[in-house]
């Protein structure tokens, strides 16, 4: 069972608990607001009732009122938290409203009615017999605080919900990407398996073909023994032998026979420079107009103990990568540096280089820089694996002035 399968799904109860608590808090805030509104309405109704029952403003035809009673009543209400200011206006017989509380206010404020335009206006008396009006500026500090809290709370909830949705959406996208990647890798694995099968079949076919070709060659050698054939036939057999020699030489030069050989082959002492040349020859069909520059030591380098076909595979992968990175036109530099205990092989191109963001992952499987162009993403991984088996290493650097340089280090046999 994979670790992912054994990993427990994150518990959802904290989220539900937070949701329930938030809803309870919001409901409490709305209840509090409703209560404040009801208290406000009740205070205003009570205020009007006090003025009406006490007949504090009198009838319009009677201007005599008791200012002291109006003042004490108004002040008692203004002491509450609900009413910030209270103006009392008495209606006179001519229809005018005279501000009687504060009694002095209208002296300096002729436009007091404009000032109270935004306040609550509470008529006192009946519609047929109006006594005046109360103008109330409500002290909505508490209510506004609750409103602000509700607004902030709702904004907070919306923000949290948005973040949650965003995060969920991100997870969904990531999951989709992962599923797509898995599908792609699955298809790649299937393709690679087919290639592996094709490789095995090719090896068998070449092995089987090689035997009859060798037989033909040997037969031709026998037939070409002096005095065995007439000159026209001898020429034909010689041409046949030449073709079989050519076939076997090509097969030998390409090292294809070794390349497709099954695993388990034993190590041999290999010439790295020779392996490098054979790798270049192997992938020359991708060379195009690329110029290959070699900087190899004049004397043969020390030998490296390795399966020959694996060195060829290693270098051909790197050379092929370089050709493809340069798009069939550029300069490929191959350098071999001999150290005391190691040999360094530099494979350097002047292509576009590798983006820094993916440089750390290029040796991981399926990390292709040419996924769009059909790259399998296994080439560099295989190189790293081969070097790991051989006790060597590989690293990537920026080439000067541009391009990419792969540096392969191989241990030298004492």
């Amino acid at each position: 069972m994979t670790p992912a399968a054994t990993r427990r799904a994150p518990a959802r109860w904290p989220l539900f608990l937070a949701l329930v608590l938030s809803l309870v808090a919001l409901a409490t805030l709305f209840w509090l607001r409703g209560r404040l509104v009801r208290e406000e309405r009740a205070a205003l109704s009570s205020l009007v009732r006090v003025f009406e029952r006490g007949n504090l403003l009198g009838r319009p035809e009677n201007a005599a009122i008791r200012f002291s009673v109006i003042e004490s009543t108004a002040e008692s209400y203004q002491e509450s938290d609900l009413i910030a200011r209270l103006f009392v206006a008495k209606r006179l017989l001519d229809g005018r409203e005279v501000l009687v509380h504060p009694f002095w206010y209208a002296l300096d404020n002729d436009a007091w009615q404009q000032e109270v335009a935004g306040w609550e206006r509470l008529p006192v008396g009946s519609a047929d017999n109006p006594a005046g009006a109360l103008y109330v500026k409500l002290a909505r500090g508490n209510r506004e605080a609750v409103d602000r809290t509700i607004l902030l709370f709702v904004l907070f909830l919306v923000l949290c919900l948005g973040l949650l949705v965003f995060r969920q959406r991100g997870k969904e996208l990531e999951l989709n990407r992962t599923v797509s990647e898995l599908e792609r890798r699955r298809a790649e694995v299937i393709r690679l398996e087919r290639l592996a099968l094709a490789g095995q079949l090719s090896a068998n076919i070449f092995h089987d073909i090689k035997k009859p070709i060798l037989n033909i060659k040997h037969e031709a050698d026998d037939l070409l023994a002096p005095g065995t054939l007439d000159p026209p036939v001898r020429d034909a057999v010689a041409a046949m032998k030449e073709q079989t020699d050519l076939f076997l030489r090509i097969l030998r030069e390409l090292g294809f026979e070794q390349f497709v050989r099954a695993e388990g082959d034993s190590d041999e002492y290999c010439d790295v420079a020779d392996s490098l040349e054979r790798a270049v020859a192997l992938v020359r069909y991708e060379q195009g107009d690329v110029i290959v520059e070699r900087d190899l030591p004049a004397t043969p380098p020390p030998l490296v103990l390795a399966p020959p076909y694996r060195l060829v595979q290693l270098f051909s992968n790197l050379v092929l990568n370089a050709y493809q990175a340069m798009g069939g036109k550029g300069l490929l530099r191959l350098r071999l540096l001999v150290g005391e205990k190691t040999i360094e092989v530099h494979v350097e191109d002047n292509g576009p280089g590798i983006a820094p963001g993916i440089r750390d992952t290029i040796f991981e499987p399926f990390a292709s820089t040419r996924a769009d162009a059909g790259g399998s993403g296994l080439g560099l991984y295989i190189c790293a694996q081969i070097l790991s088996d051989l006790g060597g290493s590989i690293r990537v650097e920026d080439a000067d002035p541009r391009g990419t340089r792969f540096v392969i280090t191989l241990p030298v046999q004492p």
Binding site: A63, A64, I65, R66, F67, S68, K90, L92, V98, L99, V100, P102, F103, W104, A106, L107
Partner: protein, 338 residues
């Protein structure tokens, strides 16, 4: 024998007659001056009667204040000794229903001690003989330049809404005509300082008095000031100290010249007196002296709120009846509250 028989009823008749006779002879009520009544029958205590006006605007006293006064009086040992020596067992409180009621009961000598509005005192029958022992004093009152008599002035003033607010000097004719049609706020108590004195001065200066039928009756001088400043009326008549005090409380004193224009300021009159029956005059009566002392102490202890009491005598009030007579002469009694 039953009481239902005619003979039995005849036999009971003499006994019933004796019972009715005894009931008729027995003393009833608390008005008797006889301290040595028959011990076998209950006798109401003889109380020193204190008369006062119930609260009306700025005049009068509350029942609570007077009860506090009575409690204070009975706690004073020298006073109670003097009371006992004079044959009083305690103090009775008698609230009068307005100035008319107070005047009638003063004239009937129903009180031994009374807190009297000045107007009522000026109108009383001199034969009642009450003597002034104290006078009221508020913080806003003025003191005579000579002596310690406490005085008040009346004032007639205009609001900025009056067309004559900025007219200087006032021409008596157009202003008099204006007063005849202007609505004027006055104090319902019709007191000397806030009503009689300023209206008399107004009549003396401009030869007219505004028609009482169009008065706006307010319960105090402060209410008059507020009615004028609020714009209910353009002319107000009130006590000057109350005017200054109301403006001060409202924080308008600095703007006074812009808010009101005094047209007439009356001659000063003394404040409301406290009177006693002539037998209790402090010069002749130990009880009178003790009463005066305790009343003054009680007022200093703020028993009457913002009102304190200070010593006064009849001679301080000699001009008051003349002022009232002048008022009646110039304006007449028709200028009374309808």
């Amino acid at each position: 024998m039953t009481f239902r028989s005619p003979s039995a009823r005849l036999a009971l008749a003499p006994f019933l007659a004796m019972l009715f006779a005894l009931m008729a002879l027995a003393p009833v009520g608390g008005q008797s001056n006889d301290a040595a009544s028959t011990p076998t029958l209950s006798v109401a205590p003889r109380l020193l009667r204190i008369g006062y006006l119930r609260p009306e605007g700025e005049v009068g006293f509350t029942r609570g204040q007077m009860e506090a006064l009575r409690a204070r009086l009975v706690q004073d040992a020298p006073l109670m000794q003097a009371c006992a020596a004079a044959g009083y067992d305690g103090f009775g409180l008698y609230e009068t229903d307005g100035g008319r009621d107070m005047l009638r009961r003063l004239n009937a000598r129903e009180f031994d001690l009374a807190f009297v509005p000045l107007r009522v005192w000026a109108e009383q029958n001199p034969a009642a003989g009450y003597r002034i022992i104290l006078q009221t004093r508020r913080e806003r009152d003025i003191t005579a330049t000579r002596g310690s008599m406490v005085l008040q002035r009346g004032v007639v003033f205009l609001s900025p809404r009056s067309p004559f607010f900025a007219t200087d000097p006032l021409d008596p004719q157009p202003f008099g005509a204006y007063l005849q049609r202007a609505r004027v706020a006055v104090v319902t108590s019709e007191g000397m300082a806030e009503y009689v004195a300023p209206l008399t001065s107004l009549a003396e200066r401009f030869g007219v008095a505004p028609p009482a039928a169009d008065f706006l009756w307010m319960e105090s001088s402060a209410e008059v000031v507020k009615a004028v400043l609020a714009g209910l009326v353009d002319v107000g008549v009130c006590e000057q100290g109350a005017l200054d005090e109301t403006l001060g409380v409202a924080g308008l004193r600095d703007n006074q010249a812009r808010l009101i224009r005094p047209v007439v300021v009356s001659r000063p009159v003394p404040t409301d007196p406290v009177v006693v029956r002539p037998e209790l005059a402090p010069r002749d009566s130990v009880l009178g002296r003790e009463l005066k002392r305790v009343l003054r102490d009680f007022s200093i202890e703020t028993g009457f709120g913002a009102v304190s009491l200070q010593s006064a005598q009849d001679s301080d009030y000699t001009d008051v009846p003349a002022l009232l007579a002048r008022f009646n002469e110039l304006i007449g009694r028709e200028l009374r509250r309808p």
